[in-house]
Symmetry: C2
């Protein structure tokens, strides 16, 4: 469900944030679904509970989840907004990288061909 890359430069708590956002946006986690408890997830991932706490705290601060003392943490109501934000961030990255590729004299149609390959691979991997 959530995989941690200890060799990554990205901190563990950020990897957890990104993973949970991804699970929400992809529909695996739906509105008001309960997340694993701080201690349980910490045990599953074999990391410190404080690290989970930090991730959950940030997710709540962003409005992605909400937490009830004594109850647990749950998926918030801003899924659509979250999806749009994530789309916009990725689009922005595509834009910047494309600019660099243009500087490097890579033909535009070649970049679009790569985009197409990615889409074909992604769609080919659905419902096998």
């Amino acid at each position: 469900m959530i995989l941690i890359d200890y060799k990554s430069r990205k901190p563990i708590y950020e990897q957890i944030i990104d993973s949970i956002k991804s699970l929400i946006v992809s529909g695996v986690l739906e509105r008001d679904d309960q997340l694993p408890s701080v201690r349980q997830l910490a045990q599953e991932l074999a990391i410190n509970p404080n690290t989970i706490q930090k991730a959950y705290g940030e997710l709540e601060r962003e409005g992605v989840i909400y937490s009830l003392k004594g109850r647990g943490s749950f998926v918030g109501s801003g899924i659509q907004e979250l999806r749009m934000v994530q789309q916009q961030e990725l689009i922005e990255q595509i834009f910047e990288i494309s600019g660099e590729l243009c500087e490097l004299q890579v033909p535009q149609q070649e970049v679009c061909a790569v985009v197409q390959r990615a889409y074909e691979q992604e769609k080919g991997g659905l419902n096998p």
Copy 2:
């Protein structure tokens, strides 16, 4: 020539590495051109000489530059290879991000439209 973003998560020495690679690939620096000396660049950027030394050492280890004791550091002969490596890295990023955008249901043609916008802006900014 080289700008340092102190707020960036990327370490200064890596920013220097990337900047010099960019200057080489873009043609500003050509083969056997002399780079600023360790101490001079450190003074210009107002950072520690050891940080420059680390960057230059890594660039030499990668074969991007070569250094002669008592002489200075110079652009190496692998410009074409460097350019291809950089292209390949960016292409790989495009591929991965496109996969994520596909998962997020963003139409393929919309991504390609962004690529096109980036190319138009880039080319429009040439020789004004």
